[in-house]
Symmetry: C2
Subunit: 127 residues, 2 copies
DNA sequence: GTATATGCAAACAATTTGCACGCCT
DNA sequence: AGGCGTGCAAATTGTTTGCATATAC
């Protein structure tokens, strides 16, 4: 695996953001550092970083969003699709289920976020 | 909400299948009952049934798969992408987190299924 | 030097949408 | 009769891929 500047920029963006960016969001930020970086390269690097376990993915509304690998869960608002980090949640994990090897848990809490509970909020999706 | 025959067929397919079908899989089965049903209609009905909480969704490899609402979790094999139902898993659930209302937990166990652990299995993705 | 990653654009796959028409109520 | 759901096809969206070039090692 080559250590290109594109790869480094992509990884740095994920590790320095708390915004749960999707691929295009990463691309927009990456262009600040490398003005001609291509969207395809961003996708390729996000993909390989994910495979290596250097970053993690959270799927929201059919779109992949990326996050650093520090262990935590997520809450996703059903109205505005905002993603909120969830720490300090104790969830017992199986190592195995009926002969199937379990090495990962994807856990997403879903509901209505604090802001969308207010009646003056019209639940506009933030896209 | 109108009770059309298309809507009824789609719901029946989900409730009578244990295969975790995606939209196209539902479409293929639906055409047995209604030969000229359109894929768009299948998508529209799956969407509204999901919104109403009549069926649930499990996302695998970027594709929505549908399941009845009986409470259970899922295991997804990282190699072959097979979905296996997981029952009898005790997971404590928050009703609220930092002011955010939690009404749903999406929990997916991931790993290598029993079959893919055998060395003669080449991990062909079942698509 | 050579393999691998890149930029670019075209291809792809899943899903959504616009429109004219048909069917439930 | 009126409106919502449908079939159909085209449009969108997110993502992947082929290819010639550039770059890391």
């Amino acid at each position: 695996m080559k250590n290109t500047k594109q790869r480094k920029v992509v990884l740095d963006i994920i590790n320095n953001s708390d915004k749960h960016l999707d691929a295009f969001g990463v691309y927009k930020l990456a262009r600040i550092s490398i003005s001609n970086i291509s969207l395809g390269t961003v996708y390729r690097n996000l993909g390989s970083l994910e495979n290596e376990g250097a970053i993690q993915v959270i799927m929201v509304d059919g779109v992949k969003h990326y996050d650093k690998i520090i262990p935590h869960y997520h809450f996703v608002c059903k109205k505005c699709l905002k993603i909120i980090d969830v720490f300090d949640l104790e969830i017992p994990r199986l190592k195995e289920y009926n002969g199937n090897l379990v090495d990962d848990y994807e856990i997403v809490l879903k509901g209505i976020c604090e802001n969308c509970q207010k009646e003056d909020n019209y639940g506009i999706k933030r896209k």
